[in-house]
Point group: C2
Chain length 411, copies 2
């Protein structure tokens, strides 16, 4: 008897009718002869509303109490979903993160899972029950309630699938799967059938909003296949899985973009050893995640150093960099928040040459200026003007022929 | 350093402004040199809304899942209140029923408290923190979440005051205390300063909506004084306490009424031993709480038996009684849901005669017909027509001079 973990996001269970529909889908899965563990998010916009309420009390609520508050959202979901399943005549039991034994560290609002006790779930499964687990939440060794941060429910599902050695982990969402590009921008974007963990990791961190990198890392580590699919129909979605040889025929899997970034530059930096370490050491100490870094020689003995960070970190970065500028005796600190990053991802890049130049010429043909470039084994990213984003994504998608199904040549 | 338990009801914490106001009151209590344990209900109409949501899923949600759902209401309250206290610069920690260790039996939606672990609360108090406990909820030995039923948050407060040996238990509500009669009916009803547990028990079960009997029983058993008062001002309310000798000077403490009842009569019942046992045994087996019972001789060899039950139980009672009627060969089964019960309560009745006749003449002077009478040591109840309720309550209140403060003669 196969064990299937299914995760349903907030939009999939927003309102009684959708909850009942999800209940029917779950029961069908069980009736096909499977044991079933369900993970749910808070219904609809519940989490946002709870956050708003907290803001009305104080602009800076304490993290522990925020988690106490937010955890109620998923607790509502599991209770309502269990009721819906009972009403259809099947046995189900709802469990909070604490009741399962999802033990985390004490980093409230962004906790890391330390270990998961599988006994309670296994006991309920052995009674032939559908087990419904609250996503996004855990409990510390001292029994304080924690939450796992953005994408936390996905993480709960993948982590459960891993420790329970599930045969499948299905993530139901409001999109049909992972696409070769954002379908809102590229009308002929194609749904990808299978994609490797590494590609998905790059796509996730590049702004494809399907799953957060943490969940994919956990899945990769334990080789759990994740099937991302729509809860509104029965179509197959995208399976995120380990790299298989036939994937190599596909040079580029998809195009991603990210508008949530700002480019910061510090100019006329003295060309001495240890300067870059000083800059990025200071940013690291301030817990700023720096994405791309470029150093160029402006003139004899001086350099310009540019890097990108998330928009939300800008104020902090400027505070830190102003001090660093004084220390190292650089000339100017400037930033540009009118930029975006477009990227192509594909495991096939490793063995195919000419991919970068093809991307650059796609951009050149549309008169899109490239401000920064960074590459990895399976990714090429370019920083461009934000206003050019859509044009750039479409041009690259077309140039690599991504609308065509793989198998056909794509070089 | 005194230990004070304060309980705040749903209306006291409905909305951010009220929560902040309650936070200030709690901090004042602490700054007067007290250790403070707070119990809160769900904010405003949260519980009703959650019940409605469950109804949209299924008309008969399972009890365990109902408790899982409802317990989120109080969890929101404790988080928000702790945030409000933090924002004012004081240390506070919120705890769910499970985190405290309020262990109950497994009667979901109406659980009984089995034991309370005081270690966690005492540890937090010793760190000079305000401890905020979710009312109304507990946890079974198997760590399932339970709720305590109607008035459950009061019960949590009284039970905590008992096990923690608190010096005071203050119950903040939207009324100023316990009155000699419902102030909405009797304009000169007076707030009672002190009332005994027994009197309050009678008043509570007679329809004065201040506190449910269960909480008062727990308070009586452990001699915890309960101070019922308004959260909207600083006035003293009513202290529910053990009987003190000076109370005996007060013959009647208050007048209560209850419109939530229906009179059921079965007529021409054969006058044989065991008939009453058969009727009330059947009702008991059906878990119907019967209030007043009257048996009268209609004619030679036959009796009429009348009793009252809550309106909600009527359908069940008629089903049961129809069968019983066949079995015992009674003639007719009739009911009247247009009745009400008015009652007077006072520990002084024990030692004063003539109280009943004074009540009956108050009713007679207003042409109110008495249909049933029942008495206890400290209570006299009359069933009358529902439409006469207000008139009757006013007449009795006037007759016993309850608007005047005690100490002055009242016979």
């Amino acid at each position: 008897m196969a064990l299937i973990v299914q995760k349903y996001g907030g939009t999939s269970i927003a309102g009684p009718e959708r909850i009942k529909k999800v209940a029917r889908r779950i029961i069908e899965t069980k009736k096909r002869g499977n044991r079933v563990v369900i993970v749910v998010s808070a219904p609809g916009d519940t989490t946002d509303k709870l956050m708003e309420t907290a803001q009305q009390i104080t602009p800076s609520p304490t993290d522990r109490e925020m988690d106490m508050l937010l955890a109620t959202g998923e607790q509502m979901s599991i209770a309502l979903l269990a009721m819906a399943i009972h009403a259809l005549g099947e046995e189900a039991v709802s469990l909070t993160g604490g009741q399962v034994g999802i033990v985390t560290d004490e980093t409230f609002t962004n906790a890391k899972i330390r270990k998961i006790d599988t006994k309670k779930i296994e006991k309920e499964l052995s009674k032939d029950r559908i087990v419904i687990v609250a996503g996004f939440q855990g409990i510390t060794a001292k029994r304080d309630i924690t939450t796992l941060g953005r994408g936390g429910s996905d993480l709960t599902a993948v982590a459960l699938a891993s420790v329970l050695k599930a045969d499948q982990c299905e993530v139901y969402t409001d999109v049909a799967g992972v696409y070769t590009a954002d379908p809102r921008i590229v009308s002929d974007a194609r749904k990808i059938d299978r994609i490797s963990y590494d590609e998905m990791l790059e796509l996730a961190s590049l702004g494809a909003q399907v799953m957060v990198p943490r969940s994919i890392e956990v899945a990769k580590k334990s080789s759990v296949d994740i099937h991302v699919r729509s809860s509104f129909n029965d179509e197959e979605g995208t399976v995120i899985t380990k790299e298989v040889s036939k994937m190599e025929g596909v040079v580029v899997s998809g195009v991603a973009y990210d508008k949530d970034l700002v480019k910061v530059a510090i100019t006329d930096v003295p060309d001495r050893p240890g300067i870059a370490a000083k800059i990025f050491g200071a940013l690291g100490a301030g817990k700023v995640n720096v994405d791309m870094i470029i150093q160029s020689s402006a003139a004899e003995g001086v350099n310009d150093i540019s890097f990108t960070v998330n928009k939300g970190a800008l104020k902090k970065v400027l505070d830190i960099m102003e001090k660093v500028k004084q220390e190292i005796g650089a000339k100017r600190l400037v930033y540009d928040d009118g930029v975006a990053k477009v990227s192509i991802v594909g495991v096939g890049m490793r063995t195919h040459s000419g991919v970068a130049s093809k991307m650059f010429s796609a951009l050149a043909e549309e008169n899109v200026n490239i401000e920064m470039i960074s590459t990895s084994e399976i990714k090429i990213s370019c920083v461009i003007k934000e206003k050019d984003t859509e044009k750039a994504v479409r041009a690259i998608h077309r140039k690599f022929g991504l609308a065509k199904a793989p198998g056909k040549s794509r070089r």
